[in-house]
C-alpha cells in the first residue's frame, strides 16, 4: 500500500497507517485535548494524585509489617491539623490522617487499575463474542447484560461484597462483576457498526481472515469509546469502592479513604472535622479529575456525543 490511498480511508480509522502518521495524529489529538482548560486541570490533578501514590513511602514512614494498615499513635489521639508529626491531625484512635490520605491514594490507584483492567478485558471478550458470533449467543450475552444493568451499580456491588464478607479483595471482586457490562456493550456496538462498513467488506473480498479483520479493523475502531469509558471508570470505581468501604465492607484500619472517613465520622459531633474531611476530599478530587479528563477526551475523540 502506498500513502496515496490514505485519504480514501474512513475518518474513523485513526489507529492504523504508517507509524509517522499515527504519531502525528496522536500529537494532534493530545494538543486538542489539552486546549480545553477543564480537561487540562483534570490531567494535572490526576498526575499530582498518582505522584502522591508513588511517593507515599518516601513522604511517610511505611507502617510495619503491613504498610496498608494505618499506624496508630496512641500518644496523640484527636490531634488537630498542624500538630508536629501529624500535619493533617489524627483520628480518635491515633491514626495519622496524612498517612491515610497518601497511602489511600496508593490503595485507590491499585483498586481502580485492577478493576479497570479486569472489566475491560472481560467486557471486550464478551462483547466481541456477542458481536462477532451474533445470533443466539449474542441474544444470550446481551440478556445477561440487560439483567446486570437492571440492578443499580452501587446496590449490586454492595450486595455482592456483603454476602462474600467484609474484605478489600471482595470489594475489588464485586466492582469487577458490576463494571464489565458497559465495555461489552460498547465493543459489541462497535463491532456491529464496523461489520457493516464498506472497508471490512473490502477486506473480506481481498481474502483477509476473520481474525485479521478483527485485529486490524474492528479493535482499533473500538479503542476510542473504550478509552473514554475506562477513564471515567477510573474515577467511578474509586467513588463506589470508597462508598463500600465507608459502609464497612473493607478491613478496619485499612489505609483507604472511605475507611478513614468512616473512622472520623464519630468525631464530627465534637467538632473534629479533619479526619473525615481530608480523605473525603481526596475521593472527590480523584473522581472529579478523571471525570473531567474523560469528558474532555469524549468531546475530542467522539464529537457526535460531545456534551457541549
Amino acid at each position: 500500500m502506498v500513502d496515496t490511498a490514505a485519504p480514501r480511508e474512513p475518518l474513523t480509522r485513526t489507529e492504523s497507517g504508517p507509524l509517522a502518521v499515527r504519531l502525528r495524529r496522536a500529537g494532534e489529538l493530545t494538543r486538542e485535548v489539552l486546549r480545553n482548560p477543564t480537561t487540562l486541570m483534570g490531567l494535572i490533578v490526576i498526575v499530582t494524585l498518582i505522584s502522591l501514590a508513588f511517593l507515599a513511602p518516601l513522604l511517610t514512614e511505611p507502617n510495619r509489617p503491613d504498610a496498608y494498615q494505618m499506624p496508630r499513635d496512641w500518644g496523640a489521639t484527636n490531634a488537630p491539623p498542624g500538630t508536629p508529626g501529624h500535619l493533617l491531625g489524627t483520628t480518635s484512635t491515633g491514626g495519622d490522617v496524612l498517612y491515610g490520605v497518601l497511602w489511600g491514594a496508593r490503595t485507590s490507584l491499585r483498586m481502580s487499575l485492577i478493576v479497570v483492567g479486569v472489566t475491560m478485558t472481560v467486557g471486550t471478550i464478551m462483547g466481541s463474542i456477542a458481536g462477532f458470533i451474533g445470533g443466539k449467543v449474542d441474544e444470550f450475552i446481551m440478556r445477561i447484560v440487560d439483567v446486570l444493568l437492571a440492578i443499580p451499580e452501587l446496590i449490586f456491588a454492595l450486595a455482592i461484597a456483603a454476602v462474600l464478607g467484609p474484605s478489600f479483595a471482595n470489594i475489588i471482586f464485586a466492582l469487577s462483576v458490576v463494571f464489565w457490562v458497559k465495555y461489552a456493550r460498547i465493543i459489541r456496538g462497535q463491532i456491529i457498526h464496523v461489520k457493516h462498513n464498506e472497508y471490512v467488506d473490502s477486506a473480506r473480498v481481498i481474502g483477509d481472515s476473520k481474525l485479521n479483520i478483527y485485529r486490524k479493523d474492528v479493535l482499533p475502531n473500538s479503542v476510542t469509546p473504550v478509552v473514554v469509558q475506562a477513564t471515567l471508570d477510573m474515577g467511578n470505581i474509586v467513588l463506589v469502592g470508597a462508598t463500600l468501604s465507608f459502609i464497612g465492607l473493607a478491613e478496619a484500619g485499612l489505609a483507604e479513604w472511605g475507611v478513614l472517613v468512616s473512622e472520623g465520622q464519630a468525631g464530627i459531633s465534637s467538632g473534629r472535622w479533619w479526619a473525615s474531611t481530608f480523605p473525603g476530599a481526596m475521593v472527590f478530587l480523584w473522581a472529579l479529575a478523571f471525570n473531567l479528563l474523560g469528558d474532555g477526551l469524549r468531546d475530542v475523540l467522539d464529537p457526535r456525543t460531545g456534551g457541549r
Partner: protein
C-alpha cells in the same frame, strides 16, 4: 417511532429481566455461607440446627430451593429479617415510607433546582454563570455522597446548629398517630403544626444532600437541551413576532427542552436510590437504605435479598415509566410540531 418500538421491546423482555434478577438475588443468598447463620444461637443443639435447615429447605436441590423461594416471594413471603427480628414484609412498608418521604423531598429539590439552574445557564451560554453551572454539574457526579453528607453535617449541624439529625423529635413524633408512616403526611392528617414543622425541619438537610447528585444530572441535561432549542427556527420566529425574551424562554424553548430532560429522571432516580443508603446511615434516617446497611454489616441475607430484589424492581418500573413517558411526549411533539 423508534422509541415506541424500543418501549415495546423493553416490555417484552421485562419478564426475562425479572427472572434474571430473581436468579441473581437467589444466587447472592446462596454464595455467602449459610443462609440461616443469622438465626442460629450458641446454645442450639445440632438437632435444632438440622431442624432449622430442614424448615428452610436447605437439604433440597438448588433448583427446588429457588422455586420454593420464588413461590414465597410471589406470595409476599420474603423471609425473616434478622436485624429487625421480624418478618421482612412487616418491616418493609415502614422502612419504605421513611425512604419514600426522603426521596420525594430530594426529588423535589433536584427537579426544581436542576430545571432552574439548567435554564439559567442554558440561556446564558458560554458566559460566567454557564461555566460555573458546568463545573457544578460535573462535580455533582464526582462528589462522594458520604463525604458531602458529612460536610453538610459539620457546617449546618455542628457549627451553625440550624438543622438536627435523625428523622424526628421523639416526643413530638409519639404525640401523633402514624397511619401512613410518612411523617409529613401524618402530621397534616393529625392537623398538628408542631409535628409538621418538626418533620420538615428534620427533612431539609438530608433531602438537600441526597438531591445534590440528581440536581447536577438534571442541570446538565436541561442546560444542553435548552441551548439546543434556542438555536431552533421557531425561537427566532417567536422573537421576530416581538415576544419578550422572558416569554420566548418560558413558553417555547423551556417546554421543549424539558422533553429530553425527562430521560435523565430515571438516571436521577438511580442516584437517589443508591445515595439513600449512605445518607440514611449518616443522618440516622430509619429507611430502607439504613436497614440494608445494618443487614450488610451483620450478614443478614434475607434482608439483603429482599432489599436488592425490591430496589431493582422499583428501578425497573421507574425506568419503564420514564421510557413510556418519553415516547408519549415524543409523539406529542411530532403531532403538534
Amino acid at each position: 417511532m423508534q422509541i415506541r418500538e424500543y418501549v415495546i421491546r423493553r416490555l417484552l423482555i421485562l419478564p426475562l429481566i425479572l427472572i434474571g434478577t430473581s436468579l441473581i438475588v437467589f444466587t447472592l443468598g446462596r454464595v455467602g455461607g449459610n443462609p440461616i447463620a443469622i438465626y442460629l444461637e450458641h446454645e442450639m443443639t445440632p438437632e435444632e440446627v438440622a431442624q432449622l435447615e430442614d424448615r428452610y429447605g436447605l437439604n433440597d436441590s438448588l433448583p427446588e430451593q429457588y422455586v420454593a423461594w420464588l413461590g414465597g416471594v410471589l406470595r409476599g413471603d420474603l423471609g425473616f429479617s434478622g436485624v429487625s427480628a421480624a418478618p421482612v414484609m412487616d418491616v418493609l412498608p415502614r422502612r419504605l415510607a421513611a425512604t419514600l418521604e426522603l426521596s420525594i423531598a430530594a426529588a423535589i429539590v433536584a427537579i426544581s433546582m436542576g430545571i432552574g439552574l439548567g435554564t439559567f445557564a442554558g440561556a446564558r451560554r458560554d458566559r460566567l454563570p454557564d461555566h460555573l453551572t458546568r463545573v457544578f454539574a460535573i462535580s455533582g457526579a464526582a462528589t462522594p455522597i458520604f463525604w458531602f453528607a458529612i460536610v453538610m453535617l459539620i457546617i449546618f449541624w455542628v457549627y451553625l446548629g440550624w438543622f438536627p439529625v435523625g428523622r424526628s423529635d421523639a416526643t413530638i413524633f409519639a404525640s401523633i398517630p402514624h397511619p401512613t408512616g410518612v411523617y409529613t403526611i401524618d402530621a397534616v392528617l393529625a392537623g398538628s403544626w408542631t409535628a409538621f414543622r418538626d418533620a420538615i425541619w428534620h427533612l431539609v438537610l438530608p433531602a438537600v444532600t441526597l438531591g445534590y447528585g440528581a440536581t447536577a444530572i438534571i442541570t446538565r441535561m436541561m442546560r444542553s437541551s435548552l441551548a439546543e432549542e434556542l438555536n431552533e427556527d421557531y425561537v427566532d420566529a417567536a422573537r421576530a413576532k416581538g415576544l419578550p425574551e422572558r416569554l420566548v424562554l418560558r413558553r417555547h424553548a423551556r417546554r421543549n427542552a424539558l422533553i429530553p430532560t425527562v430521560t435523565v429522571i430515571g438516571l436521577g432516580f438511580g442516584f437517589l436510590l443508591q445515595g439513600s443508603v449512605v445518607v440514611e446511615i449518616i443522618f440516622i434516617w430509619p429507611g430502607l437504605g439504613r436497614w440494608m446497611a445494618d443487614a450488610v454489616l451483620r450478614g443478614d441475607q434475607a434482608t439483603i435479598m429482599a432489599y436488592v430484589l425490591f430496589t431493582s424492581i422499583l428501578f425497573l418500573i421507574v425506568n419503564l415509566i420514564v421510557d413510556i413517558l418519553y415516547a408519549y411526549l415524543d409523539r406529542r411533539v411530532v403531532l403538534g410540531g
